[in-house]
Amino acid sequence: MATRVIVSILLLLPATATSGLAPAAQTGSPRRVIHITAERFEFWPTEIRLTEGEEVEIRVKSDDTAHGFRIVGGGVNLTVPKRGQGEAVTVFKPEKSGRYTFECSRMCGAGHNFMRGVLIVDAPEEQKARSITTDHTESTENSMGFSVVSVCSVVRGC
C-alpha cells in the first residue's frame, strides 16, 4: 500500500511542477510539440524556429546510443535514452528572442562535439517579417532569458 502511495505521488509530481511553473499550460491552449532525433553525430533538425513567449514541448529520441540534450546556458540537460527505449521530454518557453545552442552532453563517439543545433527564437514582429527576410544571422546565444517549464526523461512513453 505504501509503495502504491509513493508511486502515485511520484506520478503526480511532474504535473504539479508543470502547473506551478506554467500557468499558460493550464489554459488549454495547444502547445507545439517539437520532435528531435539524435544519432551519431547529429541532431535532426539542427535548426528550430520558435516565437518569443511560445511554450513548446521538445521530445528527443535516439536512433542509436544514449545521447544527451543540453540547451547551453539554459539549465536543460537531459539524458536521451537509447534507441527504442523512450524519449527525453522538456517543456521550453523562451521569454526573449535570440539563439539558444543545444548540444549532445553525453559522450557518444568520435564525432560527439559535432552534435550541435540551434533554437532560433524570433520576436513576434520578427516572425511576421520573416516571411519577407528569412536569413537571421545575429548571434546572441547564451544571453537570453527563458523558462524551462518542466523536464523529464522518460522510458517507453511519458
Binding site: 539549465g75 527504442g84 545552442t101 559522450m107 560527439h112 543545433g117 546565444e141
Partner: protein
C-alpha cells in the same frame, strides 16, 4: 611534431604557424566567455570506449581469434566552449617492439574551441574528415565485422594526423571541416595497400610541407546525408628532389528510414610524379614498389532491419559490393599488378541485443583480376560494443 624550416617549403609552414597563432589568440577570447553560466564545468569524463573482438576464417587457412580494437575515450570540458577529447587505441591486443602484431595509437587528442555555430577551432591529433567510416567507426555504427575494404585500402581508416583547423555548421543542412595536417609519407606507399603505410600518425611527423583536408556534408532531410571530402599535400619530404603530391577526392551518401539503410561511397587517389617515386624507392630498396599514379575504389551497401522491435529484438541483414584497385592507373613504363584490382561481395547480419552491442557475422567473397591469385572466401564473426 618536428618543425623544419626548409627554403622551399616556407608557404606551408607559414600557414601552419598562422593556424596556431589564430588558435592561441582565439583561446584567450574563448576564455573570456561567460563560462560560469553553465553549472558542471569544468568536468572530466566519464570514460567511454568501444571494443572489437573478431573471429576470421579464410578458406584454406586456420581461423584466428583477434581482439582487434580496445579503445578508451577520455574527455574533459574546461568550460562549455573549451573541450578536450582523446581516443587511445590498442590494436590486436599486444604490442612489442619491432613487431607488427599490435599497435598502441593515439587516434584523437584535441582541444575544441567552440566559438559559434558556424566557426570553431580544433587542434591536436585529429581524425581526417574523409568518407563515411573514418569519423564514424564505432562497431555498432557500420555493418560487417571488418570495415569496408575501400575504407581500409583506398581511404586508410582509421586515419588520424596532427594538425589544426576549423569546423562548423553553416545552417540549411550544411556542415564543414577544414584542417591543416601533417602530410603522408610517399616512401611508405605500396602496390597492395596504396597510401595506407604513408600515415605519419602524428608521431614526430615531418611538416616540411602541410597537407589540407576538408569535408562538406549536406543533410537534406532526416533520411539523406550527402558528403564530399578532399585531401591534398606534398608527400615527398623524405626525397626533396621528387614532387609527389597526393590528391584524394571522395563522395558518399547515406539514406536511412526506419528499416532501410543505403550507403554508397567512391574515392579516387592521385599520386603525382609516381614514376620517379618508384625509381627513387627502387634505388633505396632494390625493388620497384610499383606504385600507381591513380587508385580508385567504390562501394554500395543495402541494409534492412529484418527485426525492428527494438533491442533485444533488433536484427539487420545487409549486402555490400565493393570494387577497389590500387593499381588503377600506372605511370608510363609500369604495368599494373592485376591481383590488386579487386572486388568483394559481403553478405552478413548484425544483431543488437542492446543498441550499443553488435553481434556480427558475414561471408566475404574477395576476387581479383589476376589469373594466378585465387578468389578468397572468408567467414567473419565479431562482437563489438560501445559504452
Amino acid at each position: 611534431m618536428t618543425f623544419e624550416w626548409p627554403k622551399r617549403a616556407g608557404r606551408s609552414s607559414a600557414l601552419l604557424t598562422l593556424a596556431f597563432a589564430i588558435l592561441v589568440s582565439t583561446s584567450s577570447v574563448a576564455a573570456q566567455q561567460p563560462a560560469g553560466v553553465e553549472p558542471g564545468f569544468p568536468s572530466t569524463g566519464p570514460i567511454s570506449g568501444y571494443m572489437d573482438f573478431h573471429f576470421n576464417k579464410a578458406d584454406g587457412e586456420a581461423g584466428t581469434l583477434d581482439f582487434h580494437r580496445f579503445v578508451l575515450l577520455f574527455t574533459h570540458s574546461f568550460s562549455p566552449r573549451v573541450r578536450f577529447v582523446s581516443e587511445l587505441e590498442l590494436e590486436h591486443a599486444f604490442v612489442e617492439g619491432l613487431e607488427e602484431a599490435g599497435e598502441l595509437e593515439l587516434e584523437q587528442a584535441y582541444l575544441d574551441f567552440l566559438l559559434s555555430r558556424r566557426f570553431n577551432l580544433r587542434a591536436g591529433m585529429l581524425l581526417v574528415p574523409m568518407g563515411i567510416i573514418n569519423e564514424r567507426h564505432e562497431p555498432p555504427v557500420f555493418n560487417g565485422v571488418e570495415r569496408p575494404f575501400v575504407d581500409t585500402v583506398i581511404i586508410p581508416t582509421t586515419w588520424f594526423e596532427a594538425g589544426a583547423g576549423v569546423h562548423g555548421d553553416l545552417g540549411r543542412g550544411f556542415r564543414y571541416r577544414a584542417y591543416a595536417l601533417a602530410p603522408l609519407n610517399a616512401l611508405e606507399f605500396t602496390a597492395e595497400k596504396g597510401i595506407r603505410g604513408g600515415r605519419q600518425k602524428g608521431s614526430q611527423a615531418n611538416v616540411r610541407n602541410v597537407a589540407f583536408a576538408g569535408r562538406l556534408e549536406y543533410r537534406s532531410s532526416r533520411h539523406l546525408t550527402i558528403g564530399a571530402s578532399a585531401w591534398g599535400g606534398d608527400s615527398s619530404f623524405s626525397v626533396p628532389r621528387l614532387d609527389t603530391s597526393v590528391r584524394i577526392g571522395e563522395v558518399d551518401a547515406r539514406y536511412r528510414t526506419d528499416r532501410l539503410e543505403l550507403r554508397a561511397q567512391a574515392a579516387q587517389v592521385g599520386i603525382d610524379d609516381a614514376a620517379r617515386l618508384n625509381d627513387a624507392m627502387a634505388r633505396l630498396t632494390g625493388v620497384s614498389p610499383n606504385i600507381a599514379r591513380s587508385l580508385r575504389g567504390f562501394y554500395g551497401e543495402a541494409a534492412y532491419r529484418i527485426w525492428n522491435a527494438g533491442a533485444p529484438r533488433d536484427l539487420v541483414g545487409f549486402v555490400r559490393y565493393e570494387n577497389f584497385d590500387t593499381q588503377y592507373r600506372m605511370p608510363v613504363g609500369f604495368v599494373p599488378l592485376k591481383e590488386f584490382d579487386r572486388e568483394a561481395w559481403v553478405f552478413g547480419i548484425t544483431y543488437f541485443p542492446d543498441p550499443d552491442i553488435a553481434v556480427k557475422a558475414d561471408y566475404v567473397r574477395l576476387q581479383n583480376q589476376s589469373g594466378l591469385v585465387p578468389t578468397r572466401q572468408i567467414v567473419n564473426v565479431g562482437l563489438g560494443w560501445w559504452f
